[in-house]
């Protein structure tokens, strides 16, 4: 199974949360805090600010639980991501006013290089994992971002479009370009490997 199975909470737990069961909020937190962190970390390197934002996402859910809609459990993750993104934008803008940083919208979208992303697929050996990781690091940031939304977070093209403020078609283009480039380089690597092995056998 290539895609990581992210923990999910059940519809029952969501209903309990709406009914005011705080343990259900605890379950929601346990199931999604890491996903939110990994999402936020890609856009904001300031750990303290990110932690504050995550805290506020869950606090809001509790305070406004009565108005929560009957979200399909498969959409909870997207709902939380949107909420975290709004919070991060707000805080970064507030911070910008203090430090007089300009153009914070850009800052949020800037994909952070030190995000320490690794390919850990079991299907290929360590050397290939390393190579693929390097190739992904060379892709334009927006392509990396879209790839992760699709293949790490399992978001749909429509959801990615909404989060990245793009059309669905632009998201498709980002992913198409990223995959094409990876595949071209990857196929090249395989041929290269075969050549070396063949050479050694002589």
């Amino acid at each position: 199974m290539p895609a990581e199975q992210h923990p999910k909470i059940t519809a029952t737990a969501w209903a309990r949360l709406k009914a005011g069961d705080s343990y259900a909020l605890g379950e929601l937190y346990d199931a999604y805090v890491q996903l939110l962190y990994k999402f936020g970390k890609r856009h904001c390197q300031d750990d303290e600010l990110l932690t504050d934002a995550i805290h506020d996402v869950f606090e809001d859910i509790w305070n406004y639980r009565a108005t929560l809609s009957d979200v399909e459990t498969s959409n909870i993750q997207f709902y939380l991501f949107k909420s975290l993104k709004t919070k991060l934008l707000k805080y970064l803008n507030r911070q910008a006013r203090h430090t007089e940083l300009t153009d914070n919208q850009e800052y949020l979208h800037e994909y952070v290089e030190s995000a320490e992303l690794f390919i850990v697929s079991q299907e290929i050996d360590r050397h290939q994992q390393h190579q693929l990781t390097q190739q992904i690091a060379l892709l334009p940031k927006r392509q990396q971002e879209a790839l992760l939304f699709r293949f790490y977070d399992n978001l749909s093209y429509d959801e990615i479009a909404e989060l990245m403020s793009l059309t669905r078609h632009s998201v498709y283009n980002l992913i198409y370009k990223a995959l094409s480039q990876l595949r071209d380089n990857w196929v090249f690597d395989l041929i290269f490997l075969v050549f070396i092995v063949g050479f050694k056998n002589f």
Partner: protein, 338 residues
């Protein structure tokens, strides 16, 4: 999703890999999608290489990202608990002995006497025969209780409850065998109690599996919170934990388990991850009522991993023969593994 086969006839590997419907099939194949792509391949055999390449490309994109440190996860949860002023952590009291003072015992006896009297009165008033659902070997069924809670009953099991179940101060059911419960939370927080051999499980709204087979009662919690009480001990379960109660030693033991493995039977599959064949044999005996005989005893220790559909004994038998690379013969009341 009704995709048209025509749309894909001119696609190359890159276009396939970037197609959401194709990706969904690779990442999380549904029966319809698999049928669709099998059919597509049959009609467009020249696309085999493209499909394989696109598939492989998506399969290797398995990312790992830096996680939040576990201490920070807990610290943030505590901070959240403080700001909403409500408990988030299910109390972590492990198994505790129940105090059994003389006073306690007399109180229990008094309570028992009162319950007995009330019980008699209720019996007279309603002469209420409990409702009972049973399953035979090889059969599972779903029962919706009067309060809307859902019980999936595994093979060779039974559940019973009073006819006026929903009006009781505590919603009580009695279980023999194995069942998965999805308990509905009521507006007035009525408790839900499962009586199994030697154990009571108390819940609010939650999902969990109870099995009492072969002198062990096991409770596995999927979500929510439950309290387990035996005659001498009590334990609170967190999601992902199991309590085992041995009928002989009367002791509770608590540990973390992969929940899916204990509840997958209700989707008519067993998820096995290195279980000994002897354990699988017990499951077969419990669910299908046949005796499993090992002619080659070393096969009993063989570790089994994978998914076994449990629609019928014949199906299980076929897959086991495959997994064990052994000859499994099904006779009347016996499954012989050679």
């Amino acid at each position: 999703m009704a995709e048209s086969q025509k749309k894909y006839e001119l696609f190359d590997a890159n276009q396939l890999a970037a197609d959401e419907f194709f990706q969904q099939w690779v990442l999380n194949p549904s029966r319809e999608a698999t049928l669709f792509w099998e059919q597509f391949l049959k009609e467009n055999p020249e696309k085999q290489t493209s499909i394989e390449e696109a598939r492989r490309l998506i399969e290797v994109l398995h990312f790992q990202l830096p996680a939040m440190a576990e201490t920070k996860v807990i610290a943030l949860k505590k901070r959240l608990e403080n700001s909403i002023r409500q408990p988030l952590f299910v109390s972590e009291t492990p198994i505790l002995p129940l105090r059994q003072s003389f006073f306690n015992r007399t109180r229990w006896m008094a309570a028992a006497a009162v319950i007995l009297m009330l019980g008699t009165i209720f019996f007279w008033q309603y002469s209420n025969r409990p409702t009972e659902y049973t399953t035979s070997f090889g059969q599972t069924r779903q029962v919706t209780l009067p309060d809307g809670s859902v019980v999936n009953l595994n093979a060779n099991s039974s559940i019973s409850f009073a006819q006026n179940f929903s009006e009781q101060p505590v919603r009580e059911v009695w279980l023999k065998g194995e069942a998965f419960f999805s308990v509905k939370h009521t507006a007035n927080h009525t408790k839900f109690r499962v009586h199994a051999e030697g154990l009571d499980v108390d819940v609010l709204g939650t999902e969990f599996n109870v099995s009492d087979r072969r002198n062990t009662t096991k409770v596995v919690l999927q979500s929510g919170k439950v309290q387990i009480k035996s005659a001498k001990q009590s334990a609170i379960l967190q999601p992902g934990e199991m309590v085992e109660f041995s009928h002989s030693t009367k002791q509770l033991a608590q540990r973390k388990v992969p929940v899916k493995r204990y509840s997958s039977w209700k989707e008519k599959v067993w998820l096995l991850d290195g279980e000994a064949m002897s354990e699988v044999a017990q499951r077969i005996e419990d669910s299908f009522g046949v005796e499993v005989v090992f002619e080659n005893p070393s096969l009993a220790n063989e570790k089994i991993s994978g998914t076994i559909p449990t629609g019928s004994l014949e199906e299980v038998n076929e897959i086991l023969s495959d997994l064990l690379k052994a000859n499994c013969v099904l006779t009347n009341h016996k499954l012989i593994i050679k």
